[in-house]
Symmetry: C2
Subunit: 246 residues, 2 copies
C-alpha cells in the first residue's frame, strides 16, 4: 500500500493539540494543496480564511462550543464564495448574473468546490504528520461567524478546520460496511442488513473504547438526531446572502 493510501486510511479526527503553532510555510503548503483540488468549470468558488486573532478565535470557539477551536496549531474557515465572480461586472451585468449566481445549482457548485479544497487540505496536513478536525458546529450561529469574518454578499462560511500537532491519538471510528454506501448500477433501498451489521460494530466500539464508553448504536444516534430540528436559521441566513433564492 502506498504512503498516500496509508495516510487516508489512518485518518482520525484530532481534537486536542500541543501548543505548537504550525509555520507559515506549512500554512502555504496546505493552502496550495487545497487549491489543486478540482473545481467546477474553473470557478474556484471558495475562499479560506485563516484566523489568528485571539479575540476572533475566542468568539468562534463560543459559537462552536468547542475549546479546540481556540486551542490549536491553526484555524481555517472554508467559505462558499461567488463574490469574486462579480467584482468586475458592470451594474447591468450584475443584475443579469444574479438569477444564475443565486440558484441552487451554484449553491451546490460553491459548496462542493469548498469541500474538495478542504479535503485536500486535510490530507496534506495529515501527510505532514499533523492532525486535524472539521468544525461543523460553526453553523450553530452562522450569522455570527459571518459577522466575525466580515463576509460580503455571496459568501457563506461552511465549516472550520483546526490543524496542529496531536496531543492525543484517539482510536479510529468504524465506518458503514462498504456495501452500505457503495451500490452498483442503481440505488439499493434494502439496507437493513448492512445497518444491522454496522449497529453491532458500533455497539462494540463504544463498549470497548478507552474514553467515554457508552451503550449506543448508529441507528439510534441518527433517529435521536433527526427527531428535533436544529440550525433552522441556516435557511434564512443562506437566502439572505444570495444563495438558493431561485
Amino acid at each position: 500500500m502506498n504512503e498516500t493510501l496509508q495516510t487516508i486510511l489512518q485518518h482520525r479526527s484530532i481534537r486536542s493539540f500541543t501548543n505548537d503553532k504550525i509555520t507559515q510555510e506549512q500554512i502555504n503548503t496546505i493552502v496550495e494543496a487545497a487549491q489543486m483540488a478540482s473545481t467546477s468549470s474553473y470557478m474556484q468558488a471558495y475562499s479560506i480564511i485563516g484566523v489568528t486573532n485571539p479575540q476572533k478565535k475566542e468568539a468562534l470557539a463560543q459559537v462552536s462550543g468547542q475549546p479546540y477551536v481556540k486551542d490549536n496549531g491553526h484555524l481555517f474557515i472554508f467559505c462558499a464564495d461567488l463574490y469574486r465572480h462579480q467584482i468586475k461586472a458592470t451594474e447591468e451585468q450584475l443584475e443579469n448574473m444574479k438569477a444564475n449566481l443565486e440558484n441552487t445549482e451554484h449553491l451546490l457548485v460553491s459548496t462542493i468546490d469548498a469541500a474538495l479544497a478542504a479535503q485536500n487540505a486535510a490530507i496534506a496536513s495529515e501527510s505532514m504528520g499533523l492532525g486535524m478536525c472539521y468544525i461543523g458546529s460553526l453553523r450553530n450561529d452562522i450569522q455570527q461567524v459571518d459577522t466575525i469574518l466580515n463576509l460580503p454578499p455571496h459568501v457563506i462560511p461552511l465549516f472550520g478546520m483546526v490543524i496542529g500537532v496531536p496531543a492525543k491519538e484517539p482510536e479510529q471510528k468504524p465506518r458503514l460496511p462498504l456495501e452500505g454506501v457503495y451500490f452498483e448500477n442503481e440505488y439499493n433501498r434494502n439496507q437493513d442488513s448492512s445497518l444491522n451489521q454496522f449497529d453491532a460494530t458500533i455497539k462494540q466500539y463504544y463498549e470497548n473504547r478507552s474514553n467515554n464508553k457508552r451503550i449506543d448504536s448508529w441507528t439510534d444516534q441518527m433517529l435521536r438526531r433527526f427527531q428535533n430540528t436544529m440550525r433552522m436559521d441556516v435557511t434564512p441566513y443562506v437566502e439572505s446572502k444570495g444563495f438558493k433564492k431561485r
Copy 2:
C-alpha cells in the same frame, strides 16, 4: 516534499483513458478511502453508485454531453443521501424528522459529506497512478440521472467521477494566486490585483498550451458564464426530493 503532497500538487483532470477497466480490488480500495473522510456528526450522509451497465453509461454520457462518461476505467456517481437515516423510523418518527432532515443545514451536511468522500477517492486513485475527472455536467438533467439510478426520496446525485488509466497527460491548469483565495482574520474584498495577476497568467496559459489555444481571461470566462441562467431545474428537483424545503 512527501509522496502525498506530490500527488495532490500534480493533479490534472484526465478526460481520455485507455480501454483498461480498473479492478474490483482497486474499486474497493477507492471506496474504502472515500469512507475514511471525515463525516459530519458521524452521519455518513452520502452514497456512491458505480455504473458498469453499458446502457446506463451511454444514457449518462448523453446527459453530460461528454464521451468519457462512457469510455473510462470506471464511473462513480456521488449522491447526497439522507435516506438511510430514516429506514428504521416509525411513521410518526419520520414525520417529526422531516423538518430537520429537509432543511438547508442538512442539504449542506450531505453535500459536504459526499464531496469530502469524493476527494479522498480522487487522491486515492491518483496515488495508484490512475487519472480522474469530476463530472458536474450530470446536472445538465439531474432528474434524468435520478431516474437512471432509481434514487429514493432524500437522495440526490451531485456529480460523477470517471477514473482510469490516462491516455493523455494534459498540462496543469493554473490556480488563482494564493492571496486570492486565502485571507487572514477577515474577508478581503479588494481582489482586483490578484484577479488582474491571474488574468495575465491565464491569457498566457491559453496562448501557450499545445491543444485548443485561445485568447481568454478568467474574469471574462466568469462574466460570460454568469450572464445567462443555467440548470434552473436543479432548484425544483432538489426540493422535490425533500432537500432545502424549509
